[in-house]
Structures are given as C-alpha cells and as structure tokens.
C-alpha cells in the first residue's frame, strides 16, 4: 500500500502543475495506508518500564514537576520549559536558564514523550527518568546538584511523606533516582489522545477535512513518513538534518553536531532524533535550533533539505493542514499544592557567581 500510493503520486506529479492538489484516495484506502505508518495515541496512560503509575507516584511527580525549588535559584521548574498550557514547550527559541543564560537547543515537548525511542534531541537519555536528571543539573538550566536537591526534599516533611507513599517498599524513598522516576510517572500521564487524526485512523471519515486528508496523503507520498511515523509521528529514530541538502547556519548552527556528541561516530554528524509531530501546531518555534517560527516554512525546509523536493504551494498547505490534525486533547492538570519549606530547608541561591 505504501508503494502503490507513492507510485500513484509520483506518476501524478509529472503531469500536475505546480499548484495542483494531492490526489485524494478513497477513505478506506487512505486509512489503510496510514495505518501502515501510524497508530493512535492510547486513550489511557501506560506505565513505563520499571515504573508504576500509582496515584501517589504520579501526584508526587506532579509536585516535583511544578516545584521551582528544584532549581538552585528557586525560579525554574520542569514546567518553566515544558509548559502544560503551551503544548509542553516554552515558546522560546532556546530556553532561558540560570543567570539568564540561554540554552543550546529548543525545548522539546514532554507531551507524549513517553512514546519516543529516547529523550533529548540527540537521544542521549534512554527514558524519561534519565531525562529528568539532566536539566536540574545543567548549569545553563536549573543549575542544581543532586545533593542540594535531595537535601531540599528531605528537609520538608510533606515531601518525605509523599516519597514514602510513592515508593512504599523502599529503604530510602527520597533519592535522586526516585525523584526522576516520580517525574517520569507524571509525564507518562501527559498524553494527548483524541486528535482529529486519531479519530480518523479509528474509522471516523468526518474527523478530517478533505484538505487535511490530501495532506495526509501528501505526507506519505512525498516521503515524510520515512522519518516521521509511529504513534508519535516521529521520535522513533535518528537522521541527519540535511539528508539531501543542509539548510543554512541559522537553522542548523555549525557548532551543534547533534548525536555525534553522544556517539563520537562520524556518521552521526548533524544527526538528530526526528521530531515527534504530535501537537506540532502548538510547539513553535521549530527544529533543535528553534530558528523557525512558522510551521509552513518548517515544512518547506524539511521538504528541501530532507527530501530534495520543492513542494507545490497547495501541497504545503495540505501538509500544514494535516499537521493541525495531530493536535490532541491537552492534559487537564490541577496545579499541585507544594509542601511547605522547613526552617532548615536550603535557601534558594539566585546569585550568579
């Protein structure tokens, strides 16, 4: 089915004028083709490996996720850069961190991040728990140490009780590993089912407009699916940015060599994890550089740099319309009430050395 749709489109492209629409297959055929590449977001959260989604653990994770006291300055929480109200991002080119430093890469969404093959743009964290240990320690982000963080948590009876309830059979419930596992448990609940695309995949022909369906067909036909597939429409593997032609330095800064830094392998130069495209209409600016604010422009850059194709205007519009159908039901999170500090809690240290 993949081949046949692609072949049809390729043949069609030869005869079509530049502004032509993508051919629209019957819904049954389009859905069958799509189901070879994609699957819907599950309706309910699933526990990550080596973790459980007990209410106690998820609630603790929410507290930690929203608590700015996890940063050395007392200003930044996970929520600062992964805002549950903004599609899971901060809407900045790159995030502002400790001392007003700006980070090297655009903050990726944690919504549906549980479905990615690995975390960070270069996949250096195998799971969300390992990911959660990064930003709290990064000097340009939260700038904390595990020791100071654990000291902070242990100083507050409210946290100690919450850790005991979340990790009931452990000798040392308050630990850096369990801090990370609780955040992973909370983040595993941050999924966005019921997008128009998922409703279409499940059989609702009316869930997508004709233009959106043409966009879905174009997305598959032009080869976007080579990198952006699976439940997250991306996030499943690593690819060079610039398979065909590298974009300019404003989009792909020379200094950031991507996965090469992790693997030290020449073939990983300027290689990044394909961006998961769920809720992509909410998560501007785009790319690891955060250099592109317009989704239409991002689609055009991807098309030329990754596929070597100049998309027709109409096709670009169709694909952008299709990407809009990937916006799912956003999570309703009650802002947690955080434990009160104790007289011996470490003080925030906003001063920059």
């Amino acid at each position: 089915m993949k081949t046949s749709l692609l072949a049809i489109a390729a043949l069609g492209a030869l005869a079509q004028p530049v502004l032509a629409q993508t051919a629209l297959p019957p819904d049954a055929d389009l859905r069958a083709a799509a189901l070879e590449w994609f699957e819907p977001i599950p309706q309910t959260p699933q526990a990550p490996a080596n973790n459980v989604l007990t209410p106690e653990r998820v609630d603790l994770g929410a507290m930690l996720f929203f608590d700015p006291r996890m940063s050395l300055s007392g200003l930044f929480s996970c929520q600062t850069c992964h805002n549950v109200g903004l599609g899971g991002v901060d809407g900045l080119t790159t995030s502002i961190g400790h001392g007003w430093q700006q980070g090297p890469r655009n903050s990726p969404t944690m919504l549906n991040a549980i479905f990615n093959i690995a975390q960070f743009w270069d996949g250096r964290a195998p799971d969300l728990a390992e990911q959660a240990k990064g930003p709290v320690q990064a000097g340009v982000e939260m700038n904390n140490t595990p020791e100071n963080l654990i000291g902070t948590l242990n100083s507050m009876p409210g946290y100690v009780e919450a850790f005991e309830a979340a990790f009931p059979d452990e000798a040392t419930p308050v630990s850096f590993d369990n801090f990370a596992r609780a955040i992973e448990a909370f983040e595993a609940t941050l999924i966005t089912p019921d997008s128009a695309f998922d409703r279409y995949l499940k059989g609702d022909d009316a869930a997508m407009t004709e233009q959106e369906k043409r966009g879905l067909a174009a997305f598959m036909d032009t080869g976007c699916t080579a990198c952006h597939s699976g439940v997250n429409v991306g996030g499943q593997d690593y690819y060079p940015f610039g398979v065909v032609e590298r974009p300019g330095g404003s989009v792909l800064p020379e200094g950031d060599r991507g996965r090469f830094t992790v693997t030290q392998t020449a073939s990983d130069d300027y290689v990044f994890r394909a961006a998961p495209l769920r809720n992509v209409a909410l998560t501007a600016p785009y790319f690891h550089s955060g250099a592109v604010w317009d989704l239409r422009e991002a689609v055009q850059i991807m098309s030329s740099s990754q596929l070597g194709t100049e998309l027709a205007e109409a096709q670009t519009d169709e694909i952008v319309a299709f990407l809009g159908t990937l916006t799912g039901k956003q999570p309703q999170v009650v802002h947690p009430i955080l434990p009160v500090r104790a007289s011996d809690s470490p003080l925030p240290q906003p001063m920059v050395q």
Copy 2:
C-alpha cells in the same frame, strides 16, 4: 472585651516568669474577643467593585495569569512570582525578573488579596486590577508595554474570542483595562476558607489546640491586633515599620522608604501596609525586604520593633502556633490551556539591552 483580656494579661505578666504560658480563657470568651477583631474568609468568592465573576471572565483571567507570553521575554507570568502552589508567593527574598534583575521588595501573596485595603506593600494600587497593570510593565519584572501586550493578545484568535466572551457588551473587548479586570476576576476566586482559625471562629472548639488558642489570646493581648485584624488578619491599614524601634538595615533597608514614595508625606516615612497574615506559615521569607526566613524570628522582630515587647519563649511559640491556624484550604486551579500563537504574534524578546 478587648480591654478586659488585655488587662488580665497585663496584670498576669507582672507575676509570671518569662517562660509562662498565656492564660487560656474559656472558648466562649476567647471566641467573642476574637470576633471583635477578625472575621472568617467567606466560603465563596465575591465580585470586586466594577467587576463580575462570570466563568468566561474568570477563565480568561486564569489564562492571562498563567501565560508567560505576557512578559517581554516570554519567561515570566503572574504565576512566576505568585505561585498558586506555594501559598501565592515565589519563596524568594525578592523576585527574579527580566534579565535576572532582582526586584526591590518581597513578592506578596495574591491569595485573599481581594480583602486587602489596597495592593502592593505601599498600597499604591487601589485594587487588584490596578495592581495587575504594574508588574507587566516594570522593567525589573516582566518588562512589557501595554502596546506589545495588546498586540500579542490581538494576534491570537483564541484570546480575541475569550475576551469577547468575557466582555460581551463592549466595543473593544481586548484592552489593557480588560486584561487587568480579567486577572482581578480570577484572583478574586483565589481565597482560602476553612482554616482551623475560621472553623474555630464559627464555633468549633476542637478546631484549634490549646497552644494555638493561647497564641490567639497572646496575639490579642500583646497588641498584634492593633495592626493585624480584619478578615485578612492584616492588610487593612498602613503603619511605620518600627513603631517603637526600627529594626536593623538588613530587615528594613534604608533605601526603601515605603509609602513615603507614594504620598511624599513625612509621616509616611518607612510606612508599609501591615502584612495580611492569612497563610503566613506558607509565605516565607517575611517582610517587604524578604530578609527573614523563620516565622518565629519574624514574630520576635515584630514584637520588639512594633510593640516594644520582649515576648516570653512560650508566648512566641504560642503565637507561631496560632499563625499556623491561618492556613486555609488552598485553591485547586486547573492549569489553563493557553491559546496558540499566530504567525504574526510578536516574538518573545529575551535579549537584554
């Protein structure tokens, strides 16, 4: 009743050793005395003057309150410094703002702020709507302009629709005034009823422990109620910091002359609005300077500087215990899903000149 309790305590003090407990009157007498000074937080929010609490307006206010795009950099929202999960404060000595500047005064809580006589430590804003216009424009805080803010709001269809629904009969729903009124409406819902103290006031003898009741008696007897009374146990009027003796410069920095800056009246030198003490156990650090982290120490400083009294250790403990009964039911706020930006939305400007 006020006089008699005070007189009893004064007579008692002459005979009592330094560590003596405060005499504990019968509940009926203690409650009657307390009801002359205090009243409970209402169970349900009430609309401020010139405002209404329609769901549309409150929901819009929540969106604006939580939206970091209201700041020039895209980093700060109202929630940053008035955290609904932290008793309505940020837990910093003074807040971190644009470009990592630190503000001049400690961030006061917005919980129950609707019950204060005026807003800010110097009362320079008569109501919460006027208050909301301050930090978005302050160079050391959100550093935005009304023009850029309104441009941002008008660029997003989701905000334009929300303003139209919140201000249905107005020709220009999206305005800086309405921005402020919507935030005021949301903040008017952020009240904390059902504290142990309020349940006691309403007749539940068992709502407070014996030590807490002694603390309530001591709070009235020693004269704390001269400044801290009313529904908010403070926030009702202005007083010099150092009625009897000015504390040292670390607690009362010389450069901040308080309400004098607002009124240019000599008698307002180092005058501040008496801090509202609702939820005070959650809102460290204390005073406009944010210089004191320990509530016990804050009570001692108030006692010596405002009353000229050296409290007995036991009385200090009692008053601190009483202050703990002012912690009410914290608001359960669902984090709003914020409108998506448009291609012509103003970009965040994190760069510092």
